[in-house]
Amino acid sequence: MFLGKVIGTVWSTKKDENLVGAKFLIVRHLDLDYNEKDNFVVAVDSVGAGQGEVVLVATGSSSRQTNFTKNKPVDAVIMAIVDKLDISLKEYLEEHKSQ
């Protein structure tokens, strides 16, 4: 899974009929300090996430493992809304990054 922020919604009228009723959100990747990265995905929402929220996104075939997305053409699903990150080894990461 990766960390992302919901930055928008996708409206689509003409789509695969299995996807009728799906809520598509645009999720931008975030780093550990909540800084936005350049890449993003369009993901189906399974938890009721909204604009501006920090979420976790599962990708690939795993994203079809929800009741709604089962056997549907989906490759990214929002499966959690993040309250807080607890990064206890941040110093370790920064040390390694600088090398």
Binding site: L56, A58, S61, S63, M79, S88, L89, Y92
Partner: protein, 101 residues
């Protein structure tokens, strides 16, 4: 399966129903020499790993197999805690490396 180091955990109250009671951990992928590879990912913990520990994890749809639920939107899960890694660098010498814990 890949090697990683647990660097922290994620608090998420609102999550997909089947994921209740599972711990979500931040994992920094590493190579066998304890050097980091790429960006951290989030994985479900199935073994009780804690920050600082070297672990191995599985990805893709197989990640659901160790969980005691039938279906869950999980694409990475921690399946073991590493005690030691023995690396043989070439045929003549065997380099034994103790993983920092």
């Amino acid at each position: 399966m890949f090697l990683g180091k647990v660097i922290g955990n994620v608090w998420a109250t609102q999550k997909y129903e089947a994921l209740k009671n599972f711990k979500l951990m931040f994992v920094q992928p590493i190579n066998a020499e304890n050097e980091e590879l790429g960006d951290p990912i989030i994985a479900v913990d199935t073994v009780g790993a804690g920050p600082g520990e070297t672990i191995f994890y599985i990805t893709a749809s197989e990640a659901v197999i160790p969980l005691p639920v039938e279906m869950a939107p999980v694409d990475a899960s921690i399946v073991g805690i590493v005690d030691t890694i023995n690396l043989s660098s070439d045929t003549n010498s065997v380099v034994s490396k103790q993983v920092q814990r």
